[in-house]
Assembly symmetry: C2
């Protein structure tokens, strides 16, 4: 299987598709390929694109891909599609989107139907991204349907997170916006030819002020982490922050677009590149990279620990314990204790 991974590194699309499938199905061959590919990761700019249904995210991603292609950048799209928890609802989306991009070998689009478990989805997405990264795709867009916590979590793993809004989606969504804005590096008001765009933009800007009350050293993960240089501990004292406004502060811009005719797309692509530069200059690139890998590692650990557990405790023993919980003769905590201590390794 090592040869398949090496074929991916040489730029073979067919091999890439096969490895993606092997990894998505969580096969041993897929894991082996990932191992070979991992040292080649860490080059791509990961761009999360999230927003409620109806904002036109998919068209926007499509246009952005075309835009980055004009700059000769290789673009991959991972569309995380939770629209169908059980059936594969992702196929149609693929076909619709491929239309403008088909035949272009610099673009690779992969839709993922949602899996039963959320953890599985996040882990599979992370692996897909690693494969594209190793295969030399420079921009990797991860498209998720916003509003859900899991999708927000997936989008947060990107270097740059775009939150897409659109005019006329109703007031109930405002509450959602307030929360999701906090993870936005760039806010996109798509469908900007619709009536009400001024109001939407105004509302977003005032919510943004609430979310970012004053210019501050920006960090992706809520707190105000001082910029850290790669591998070092070059965190400036608090007093120094003020003099470094150019590299240390990022105030999320609000960008109008009309994905259907391309308006604002070039500007948006520029904002994305600019944010990438800001991340590298400020040291936040490494901070986010580290947070992402740490979170991937935690997820992999959880799976491994659970696998060890299931290898240790026979299925029927587990079933008997569930029976006792169902009969209320044992509480869930007692059950956990019994399962963990009952058969020491």
């Amino acid at each position: 299987m090592i040869s398949l991974a090496e074929t991916v590194l040489r730029g073979d699309r067919l091999a890439l598709g096969r490895v993606l499938t092997l990894v998505e199905n969580d096969t041993a061959d897929g894991r082996a390929a990932l191992e070979v590919l991992f040292p080649h990761t860490g080059q791509a700019h990961l761009v999360g694109v999230t927003g409620a249904p109806g904002t036109g995210k998919s068209s926007l991603v499509n246009r952005l891909a075309l835009q980055f292609r004009t700059q000769n950048k290789r673009v991959a799209v991972v569309a995380v599609d939770p629209s169908s928890p059980f059936t594969g609802g992702a196929l149609l989306g693929d076909r619709v989107r491929m239309k403008d991009l088909s035949g272009d070998t610099g673009v690779f689009i992969r839709s993922m139907a949602s899996r039963g478990s959320i953890g599985g989805l996040a882990q599979a997405t992370a692996s897909m991204v690693q494969i594209f990264d190793a295969a030399g795709y420079e921009i990797i867009m991860i498209e998720t349907v916003g509003a859900g916590q899991s999708e927000v979590d997936i989008a947060r793993l990107a270097h740059t997170t775009l939150v897409v809004e659109a005019p006329g989606l109703g007031d109930d969504i405002q509450a959602i916006k307030a929360g999701i804005l906090e993870i936005a590096d760039i806010i996109v008001v798509n469908k900007a030819d619709r009536p009400g765009v001024e109001n939407t933009e105004k509302a977003l800007k005032s919510m943004l002020e609430l979310a970012h009350p004053a210019p501050r050293v920006f960090s992706h993960h809520g707190g105000t982490i001082p910029p850290t240089a790669r591998g070092g501990s070059a965190s400036p004292g608090e007093g120094q922050g003020a003099g470094k406004t150019d590299t240390n502060i990022w105030i999320p811009p609000v960008q109008r677009t009309i994905a259907t005719d391309g308006t604002g797309i070039a500007e948006l692509a520029q904002q994305i590149v600019k944010h990438g530069e800001y991340l590298r200059l400020s040291g936040d690139w490494t901070v986010r990279e580290r947070a992402r890998l740490e979170s991937e590692l935690e997820a992999a650990l959880r799976s491994a620990l659970m696998n060890q557990f299931h290898a240790r405790v026979p299925e029927e023993q587990f079933g008997r314990v569930v029976d006792q919980v169902l009969e209320r003769s044992m509480s869930p905590s007692e059950a956990v204790r019994a399962l963990l201590n009952g058969r020491p390794k």
Copy 2:
């Protein structure tokens, strides 16, 4: 702390609120209280209410609570609010909703702001539900903002899942509907006074036919599980199914409502009760109960295993491994192997 849990069992609202907080904050006292309360659970009818923003779910839940109160049933509402991943966006919703229900000691509403991790949210919700169940609340509604996988997962844990739709929310949402419909036991078309309600209903019904091509033995978890009696293995042969149409088949009804004026609410409440009766007669009640407890147990196991791991592996050792992954000198799988085997217990 045992006395606090006992006070909850005696119906003390103040104690209930305190235990809910202790459990939501995942304190030792909270866990101890849960242990005392768990044997008293298993009586409540858990009703999941999910749907996209803008469908009027909260008003619907409010109205349903009032309706069940006219039948003298004690009602609890757990509103899982992912609108703000970082700040508590749940407070306003509480106040808006409490208006009609305040002063009624037969109703308890609890909003949960989303936590960092999805697993944490699902686990906290499950614990909240157990406390309300033990405290004697007969109907427990779990309200989640649909569209996200995690929210769908939370809603699936209920006995009866309501999927709420509304006319005029745009075509992009159709894809979502197709997926979410598969988990619906009852479909609600709220805001039925809006133009386009006939089209919405027609679209839902045809999607429903796609999701449930022919009347079949219904099960909540995708497959066609034969009805199982509590504790027994009374699964009838396939041939017998046809003769049991009354108890073995549930075709999700589509119910129009106008939550703002109460139209259709009595009928909806009746459908919920009817679905509960169907579950008990068919044996699916136990099937779902078992699936729910099994999934809770798995989640608790994952946490416990992770806690054991962190107790075993010092934070700085973990940090050093993350560093090596960040430098690409170690792959995530190698890191997991190193962390799990490096220091055997």
